[in-house]
């Protein structure tokens, strides 16, 4: 369902070229929960951004449901992202002036329909944020922030969830909640691509791959 086909990405800075990814290929099935780990700087984040349609690879194709997403115009790719892809980042990227409830609703900006309120509350409750609805990110713990970001990514129930080091700042309890949430999502047919250092987290993954270098 996701074919990452022979992609390469290099960065050039101050006349030095870094090959973040070099002829990398990967296939993910629908409902698969794949964990990726590897040393820092091996190109994991780069892979996620390319897979999510946010970063043009220098070479290769990304086929999602046999749609080559980099053949689409930037605008169509945005629509595609809104429909199919959820992102979670280590740095949460919550909007500071919005409450938890509002942050979770942010994907609605790119959607035609709002998610019914009871579904939003259900999602928020499942991530243990019921008491934090009206709090702003500044008032949240790291775990709460990451759970809010996860709720946001899952609001429109995307086909693919791309998660980058989302457990890096979390304690064991929060890691459990988050990983269980991902497993649950995967169990319901969502495809998860998780980048992590946390060996513990891998327990729930169906498959773990290790990237050495690009």
């Amino acid at each position: 369902m996701i074919y990452i086909d022979n992609i390469s990405k290099k960065y050039t800075k101050e006349n030095k070229t870094i090959h973040a990814l070099d002829n990398f290929s990967l296939t993910l099935e629908k409902g698969e929960f794949l964990a990726i780990h590897g040393p820092s700087g091996c190109g994991k984040t780069t892979l996620l951004l390319i897979a999510g349609g946010l970063l043009h690879p220098d070479q290769g194709r990304i086929l999602i449901d046999s749609e080559n997403i980099y053949d689409l115009s930037a605008e169509k790719r945005a629509v595609f992202r809104a429909k199919n892809i959820g992102f979670v980042f280590q740095q949460y990227h919550l909007i500071p002036y919005l409450t938890v409830l509002e942050n979770v609703q942010v994907p609605a900006l790119a959607q035609k329909k709002d998610v019914p309120e009871n579904e939003i509350y259900e999602l928020i409750e499942s991530l243990g944020l019921k008491e934090r609805l009206q709090h702003t990110p500044a008032e949240l713990s790291a775990g709460e922030k990451q759970r809010t970001a996860l709720a946001r990514a899952l609001l429109y129930n995307p086909k693919i969830l791309l998660a980058d080091e989302i457990t890096g700042n979390l304690d064991q309890g929060n890691v459990e909640i988050v990983m269980n949430c991902l497993a649950d999502y995967s169990a319901h047919g969502g495809t998860v691509l998780l980048v992590t250092h946390d060996k513990n987290a891998n327990r729930l993954a169906h498959r773990t791959i290790y990237i050495e270098k690009g």
């Binding site: 605008e75 629509v79 992202r81 002036y97 609703q105 609605a108 900006l109 790119a110 080091e165």
Partner: protein, 420 residues
């Protein structure tokens, strides 16, 4: 949730940023409105001042006019009716008229229904040697006023000199040592000095007035006169020509000249006063105009400067806002918000700032401009200007925010999202 709710939430919860933007627009709009209001107040005041001045002048002129009318009524103007063949140059050169006309002319004129002529004084005059005293004198025979038949008799203008008496000019009685009551001989006839005149500084000082009939007898000019003086003729607004015509229609054998009168001087003075008043108003107008030009010049420099700095201020403010919201823009792009919408996010904010700023700035400018100009009136509210400001301020604000908004839309989402 949609873009507008996000814009409003951002403005509501980050008030400082919003107020700084608002302040810039308010500042610009206040300056523009204030300057225009000041000019408007200036024009208003100019009108007031000029109207007041004009009213004042009008009043003064009316007073003057009234004065003039009263003077005219008292003075009238004096006509000298002379025989047609009298040479006017001779009259002035010799100080008396030499040609003759029948005394009955006076009665014809008096019998006419003239409404313009009032007092008629016939006279016979001649420059002669006073043989008994060896002096050159002007001898004038007068008979007093000839009453108009169709009018109430008025008090006589000049009391007729009774027969057997004379009135002497100052020079004569002074040099000859004559006193009232003295008996003196003139052309072989005895006269009593009835009155000694005060000095007048003209030919009157060497004149002797006697009764007309006696003068006619002494000069052997029975039934003749030289001139008729018509005193205090009605004359308002220059109908002298009409008077003249009237006299000549009754007495075709005469000519009419005007005795120099103060009336004309007064009329001239009045015209001069009117001109001075007009000049003063013109000068005031010029002064107000000059002031206005200065104000206008000042505003024409200030306003573009303020507009430019305001636009730059908003631009920098939005650049700051965009860079502060990099992470937000990144995540919005990640969830599928289009570049266009990112742009709208900032332009909508600029638009709202422009609208709020226009309304607040306009009202503030109106107050400041009118306080500064010293006039507060609801008539200063200018709907046209208000609508113009309401259109232009948001446009300028949009213009100012356009580049930052485009920068935000073009920001590479991968760049911020990769950061750890």
């Amino acid at each position: 949730m949609n873009i507008s709710t996000l814009v409003i939430k951002e403005m509501k919860r980050r008030k400082l940023n919003f107020f700084l933007g608002l302040l810039s627009v308010v500042f610009a709009v206040t300056t523009v409105t204030g300057a225009l209001t000041m000019l408007q107040v200036h024009d208003h005041k100019t009108n007031e001042i000029i109207t007041e001045k004009e009213a004042e002048t009008h009043e003064r002129m009316a007073l003057l006019e009234d004065d003039y009318r009263k003077i005219m009524k008292k003075l009238g103007f004096n006509l000298l009716i002379l025989p047609k063949d009298q040479n006017i140059s001779d009259l002035f050169a010799n100080d008396f008229a030499s040609k003759l006309m029948p005394e009955s002319y006076v009665d014809s004129l008096a019998a006419s229904r003239s409404m313009l002529i009032r007092h008629l004084l016939p006279s016979l005059q001649q420059k002669i040697e006073w043989p008994e005293k060896r002096r050159t004198i002007i001898l004038i025979g007068i008979r007093g006023e000839v009453p108009f038949l169709h009018k109430d008799p008025k008090e006589p203008m000049m009391i007729a000199v009774p027969k057997g008496t004379m009135v002497t000019g100052f020079e004569l009685h002074d040099k000859l040592g004559l006193k009232q009551g003295d008996e003196v001989e003139l052309l072989g006839r005895k006269f009593k000095v009835g009155k000694c005149n005060e000095p007048r500084g003209n030919k009157d000082d060497i004149t002797i007035w006697i009764n007309l009939q006696e003068a006619q007898e002494l000069l052997n000019k029975q039934g003749k006169i030289n001139a008729i003086l018509a005193l205090k003729c009605f004359c308002s607004g220059g109908n002298q020509a009409q008077v003249r015509e009237e006299v000549q229609s009754v007495l075709p054998g005469t000519q009419v000249i005007e005795r120099g009168s103060k009336v004309f001087l007064r009329a001239e003075a009045r015209a001069r006063a009117a001109k001075e008043a007009q000049d003063a108003i013109q000068a005031e107008k010029r002064h107000r105009n000059k002031l206005r030009n200065q104000l206008e010049k000042f505003a024409s420099i200030l306003v573009p400067l303020v507009l430019l700095s305001s636009v730059l201020w908003i631009t920098f403010l939005f650049i700051g806002n965009v860079s502060e919201r990099k992470s937000e823009i990144g995540i919005l792009r990640a969830v599928g918000v289009k570049e266009k919408s990112i742009m709208r996010l900032f332009l909508l904010k600029a638009l709202l700032i422009g609208i709020f700023g226009a309304v607040i700035g306009y009202l503030l400018g109106l107050v400041i401009g009118s306080v500064w100009g010293g006039l507060f009136s609801f008539s200063l509210f200018n709907l046209y200007l208000f609508l113009l400001v309401l259109l232009c301020a948001p446009l300028l604000s949009l213009l100012a925010a356009y580049i930052p908004a485009a920068m935000a839309a073009r920001q590479d989402p991968a760049e911020v999202l990769r950061e750890e």
